[in-house]
C-alpha cells in the first residue's frame, strides 16, 4: 500500500515537471519549424515570464488574473522585439549566426533581469493555496494547475494549427517558405507570430513553475536543458514529440531518482537522449532524413 502511494507520488511529480519541460520544448519546436534554428534563449523566456509575474503581482500588487494576463501580454510584446532584434536581422545569414545571436540574447536577458530585480530569488504563491491529501500522497495544487494548463494548451495547440486559417498559414510557412510566399502568405509576419507565441508559451511555463521552483535567474537554463533533450527524444521539430518527450523525461527521471539514485537524477534525461540517438536517431515521432525529401 505504502509502496503504491509512493509510486503514485513519484509519478505525479514526474508528470508535473515533465509538463513544464513539454511547454518549453513546444516553444523550441515551433521556432525550429518556422526558422530552422534552435532558440537557446527559450529557457530564459520562462524565466522572464516568471519575473514579469513577480513584477505585476508582488511589485505592483495587482490581482492574480490581471497580473497573469499582463505577464503573458508583456511576453507577447517581448517575443515581437526578440523576433526583430535577435532573429530578423540575421535571417539570411544561415543557421550559426542566428544560434549565436540567441545565445547572446540569453546572456543579455539573464544579466538584465539580474540588474533590474537583483540576485535574490523571488517567491511566487500558488494560484490556489494548499493541495489535495489522499492518504500519504500529497498533490500540490500548483502541480495540478500545471497539469491542467498543459492539457488545455495541447488541445488549444491542436485546434489552432489544424482548424484555423492562421494556424494553417503558420504550418505552410514552416513546411516550405518559398511555396508559402508564392501563395501570398506573409512569411516574415508568420515568423514574427511564431516568436510571439513561443515567447508567451515560455512565459506561461515560467509563471506556472515559479511557485514550485521559485523565481530565479537560473531557473530557465535548468528547464531548457531538459526541454531541449525532450525535443530531440520526441523527434527534432515534431510538435507531438516535444510534448511526449517532455513528459517522458519528467517521468523517467522522477522514477529513476526514486528507484536508482538521486544524485544522478540529471543524468537520466541525457542517458535517455543517448539511448534514443543510438537506437532511434530520428526520435519518437521524427521522420527519417531519407523519408523527408
Amino acid at each position: 500500500m505504502e509502496a503504491l502511494a509512493n509510486n503514485f507520488q513519484v509519478l505525479f511529480q514526474g508528470l508535473a515537471l515533465g509538463s513544464i519541460y513539454a511547454l518549453v520544448a513546444l516553444g523550441f519546436v515551433l521556432i525550429i519549424r518556422a526558422t530552422n534554428v534552435v532558440n537557446f534563449a527559450q529557457g530564459d523566456f520562462a524565466m522572464l515570464g516568471a519575473y514579469m509575474m513577480v513584477a505585476f503581482l508582488v511589485g505592483a500588487g495587482l490581482p492574480y488574473w490581471l497580473s497573469f494576463l499582463l505577464a503573458l501580454a508583456a511576453m507577447g510584446v517581448f517575443g515581437l522585439i526578440f523576433n526583430y532584434g535577435v532573429y530578423y536581422p540575421l535571417r539570411h545569414r544561415g543557421f550559426l549566426p542566428v544560434i549565436i545571436s540567441t545565445l547572446g540574447a540569453s546572456i543579455f536577458l539573464q544579466n538584465s533581469v539580474l540588474a533590474i530585480f537583483g540576485a535574490q530569488p523571488k517567491r511566487l504563491d500558488n494560484v490556489i493555496q494548499g493541495g489535495i491529501q489522499i492518504g500519504s500522497v500529497f498533490l500540490d495544487s500548483q502541480y495540478l494547475v500545471i497539469l491542467a494548463v498543459t492539457m488545455v494548451m495541447v488541445a488549444f495547440q491542436y485546434f489552432f494549427f489544424e482548424h484555423t486559417l492562421l494556424g494553417k498559414k503558420l504550418q505552410a510557412t514552416s513546411q516550405d517558405k518559398d511555396m508559402a510566399r508564392l501563395l501570398g502568405i506573409p512569411v516574415a509576419l508568420m515568423i514574427a507570430i511564431t516568436f510571439i507565441y513561443s515567447s508567451m508559451l515560455g512565459g506561461l511555463a515560467g509563471v506556472l513553475v515559479g511557485p514550485v521552483l521559485f523565481v530565479s535567474i537560473g531557473m530557465g537554463s535548468i528547464i531548457a536543458l531538459k526541454a531541449f533533450a525532450a525535443t530531440i527524444i520526441g523527434g527534432f521539430g515534431d510538435v507531438k514529440g516535444a510534448i511526449v518527450g517532455g513528459i517522458f523525461i519528467g517521468v523517467v527521471e522522477s522514477f529513476a531518482a526514486y528507484y536508482i539514485s538521486v544524485p544522478y537524477k540529471d543524468a537520466y534525461a541525457f542517458l535517455m537522449l543517448f539511448l534514443v540517438l543510438v537506437f532511434r536517431p530520428q526520435g519518437f515521432f521524427g521522420e527519417r532524413v531519407s523519408e523527408k525529401a
Binding site: 509512493n6 507520488q9 513519484v10 511529480q13 515537471l17 539573464q110 544579466n111 539580474l114 537583483g118 540576485a119 535574490q120 530569488p121 517567491r123 493541495g131 500519504s136 500529497f138 500540490d140 514550485v212 521552483l213 521559485f214 530565479s216 535567474i217 537560473g218 535548468i222 528547464i223 522522477s254 531518482a257 526514486y258 538521486v262 544524485p263 537524477k265 540529471d266
Partner: protein, 377 residues
Amino acid sequence: MRNSLWGALAAGVAASFFGFTAIAADTVKIGLIAEITGPNAEAGNYTLNGAKLAVDDINRKGGILGKQVELVIEDNQSTNPGTVLAFSKLGGNKDIPAIIGPIRSTQTQAASPSIAKLGIPTMIGGSDPSLTKVNNRWLFRCRPSDLYSSRVIANFGVNKLKLKKWVIVHSTDAFGAGGAKALAEALKEYGVEPVLVQGYTNNSQDFTPVVLAIKKSGADVIGSYMTNSQDVGIFAKQLRQLGVTTTWIGSASIVTDTAMKLAGDSLHNTYGIADFNPDANPAARSYAAAYRARYKLEPDVYSSWAFDAMNVIATALNTAKSTQAEDIRKAIVGIKGWKGVEGTYNFDDNGDGLRGYNIVKNEAGKVTFVEHIDFNK
C-alpha cells in the same frame, strides 16, 4: 621597537612634507573574488556588501599602513573556471598583497593550485576541512571548517536534543560531500551510525525521492549540508508537504535570509548552525547594526565572513608593517584572540582561524541564538 617607532614617525613627517595628496591617492589594493553573476549572484552581492562595509570602516580608522584601502573586484561567475581566471587576473597585478577569495569549497579547490603558485595570502570561506590541509601555505580560512560544524551539529543533536536516529542529506559538490562525511565521522564519536546518507545535485527541481527515502528510514533527526538556499527552500516545502515533521539541524544555508524567505513556515522550528549570528557577541551586534543601517538588509554569513576577512587582512598588514607575502603570512598565523563578528580568531599553522559555531533556531521566521559551541582543537 624604538627604531621602528622612529622610522614610522620619520615616514609620517616625510609624508606630510612631500605632498600629502600624492600619498593619499596611493592606495592599498585588496583583491576580492565574488559571485557577481551566475546562479549564486545573490550571495556574491552580500559578500560585496560585507567587504565594502569593512573597507569603509578601516579607511575611517586610518586605512592600512597609513594608506586608504581600495577593493579590486573580480567576478567569478559563480563557477570554478571563473574563479581560476579571476585569480590569474588578480595575481597578475603586483600591487595586490592579499585577496579575499571564494566562500565556496569547490571554487577554492579549483583555484588552490594557482594560489599556491602565485603565493598571495588568500582569505577563504569554503568550509570543506581538507582545503587548508593540501600543502598550500597561502590559504587562510575566516570561517570555521565543517570539521567543527559537523561536530557542533552532532554534539547538539545527540547531547542536547537526545536524538539518535540520524539521516544526512547533502549536496554532492565538494562542500556537501565533505560536510556529510565529517558529520558521519562526528556522529561515530557518539556511537551513532546514520540510518541514511542521501545526496542530491545542486539546483534539483524535485526532492520527492529524497523525502520518501527519509520517510521510509524512520529517522528522528535530519542533519543537512545543502549548498544553495534555493534548494533548501524547495526541499523544506516538499518535506513538510509530504508530512515529515522530523527535527532538522542544517548547515549555514538553512538560516540564510533567502532560504527563510522562500520556504516560509516550512522552515519554522528547524535548527541551523551559523558561524554568524547578530546576537552571538558584541562585535557581531555592532556589525549587524551598521549593516542594517547601510543596506536595509539582514546581515548573513555571506557578508559577515567577507567583513571579517577584510579586517583580518588589515590587521595582518598593519601588524606586519609590510606588504610582502611571507610577512603577511607570519602576521596572520600570529593572530590570537582577535575578536571578529564570527567569533574569536586563533589562527593555526594550517591557516584555520575559527573552531566553533553558533546553534540557532528558526522561530516563526526569526533566527534566534541558542548557544555557541567551541572546540579547542
